[in-house]
Symmetry: C2
Subunit: 292 residues, 2 copies
Amino acid sequence: MAKQNTVFKDAFNRCLKLLAETSALPSEPELGATLGVSRTTIRAILTRMEELQLIAWDKRAKVVLRQPKAEDYYPAEETDSLSDIIERSFMRRILAGGAEPGMQINELELARDIGTGTTSVREFLIRFSRFGLIEKRPNSHWILKGFTREFALELTEVREMFELRSAASFAALAPDHPAWADLDRIEALHHEILADIDNRYREFSELDERFHLLVHTSSSNRFIVDFYDIITIVFHYHYQWNKTNARARNARALEEHLDYIAALRSRDPVLVEAACRRHLKSARETLLQSIQ
Amino acid sequence: MAKQNTVFKDAFNRCLKLLAETSALPSEPELGATLGVSRTTIRAILTRMEELQLIAWDKRAKVVLRQPKAEDYYPAEETDSLSDIIERSFMRRILAGGAEPGMQINELELARDIGTGTTSVREFLIRFSRFGLIEKRPNSHWILKGFTREFALELTEVREMFELRSAASFAALAPDHPAWADLDRIEALHHEILADIDNRYREFSELDERFHLLVHTSSSNRFIVDFYDIITIVFHYHYQWNKTNARARNARALEEHLDYIAALRSRDPVLVEAACRRHLKSARETLLQSIQ
DNA sequence: TTTTTGTCTTTTATCCACAATAGACAGTTT
DNA sequence: AAACTGTCTATTGTGGATAAAAGACAAAAA
């Protein structure tokens, strides 16, 4: 079936939300810019909306005829891109299922399991290999190196080097640099979540990523910023499978972040380094604890 | 044409060299281990050798009938793997040809140029993207970020962080660790090359890689070791296109290496850091000079 | 008993085909 | 003139097919 039209379906769903807010849709190029897709896809969406009698479409006129109903949306599972599906499926296998280090990974078997072609699996594995969890034997299989204690230690070692350096450059940013405004917003969110921690502690994970990525970005070094992808994926999946003490852990991390943010604001390198080290140390401990 | 039999051809050529040294070949599994290929390939090689009347083959008996001639070998250009061909071709385009940053890279065009299928080009680009020189726009083209001054600065920044840390762990290695013996051999080669620098300065590049990789390896951190791949590829191709002052540059670097090695031997962290910094500084300057 | 060989099956590397998507260009509308 | 639409072309993403290479297993030889 060549290519899945997930881009279309996902953009269609998002367009339905736009539609709920106005009486007429804007021009095709404008819609394309808003939804981040090409005009070809926009026209497919408009055609489909016309078919469903959601809009009356004649050239520039795109009049909304009725509000979208639940059944107008495409189901969520049809809007995921194939690579996301492969990624999730693969991560579940290696993090949840008892995948031993040294195990062989078989492209064909993986593809059959997921119900997809080998090309996509292969490309996923190549992309994924930069995370250091698998390794290729040319003309032969892949080897799973495993989410082990060593992996976590090596990962955190580099992370700490990079983050200390990034935090120092953050503190040295000009006062009118937009990153300070981003930091304000992130700090405010910390206070909001802490104020209602029992209900909102699950929002920490996403906020954590946003905060650290902001810090890393200030290094202006593509290798440092790219490395943060590895941290992100590891923490993202790891926390999905390990939720013990999540509330307490997250509350503590939020407090540490606030100290860290205050230190950045002080622009005092010594304070920054101390606060950064303190937070990284507890982050490392949390990760290591959850491994075994 | 599915798969090129480059593994076979390359192993066949290497096997011809073995054949020149003995009167009978060993068992199939042993040959496989020596040449690093499977028995299937070994049997294909033996079959071909029999056809060419190079050997008489009956089960365990593989008697050499005559010495291999030049025309028995497969031509060198047929033994390169497809990914090597793509890599070379691509690097020539972006380093030698006037490839401007921001330029679009087109999988199909690249594939047609090289005379290969799109899948292989695509997989190469995915693998190559971890070097930070190109970036993908999903559902669309790749963007060349270019071998710019910023790239070189970002690369060397991380390199310096990693190498300083690795050098420190090297100095802390137990005295009976095999790395010290490797270091001895590398040091001896430095002296040899320096003694005949006018004729042998071209050997520096390979020795340089060996030395720094040895240092990086002692970090025992896969991310640090893997990062050295980027350094390797950048320097490897870069020097192919920039040979001004190579003799003088290499002689200087060899001297710096010898100081650096002496500092590692002293196991004094302060000396190590100083020697490492000195060498990294001049390596960075060399790279930056050659960019524009 | 251990190693080697003969035979067969499975997997990888690669090309190709085709639907989805992006993007270009000219004509049309504001 | 500027932006938009209609139409057409080019490129990407993905499954499937096939030769090369790896690898499993039993029979044969040492």
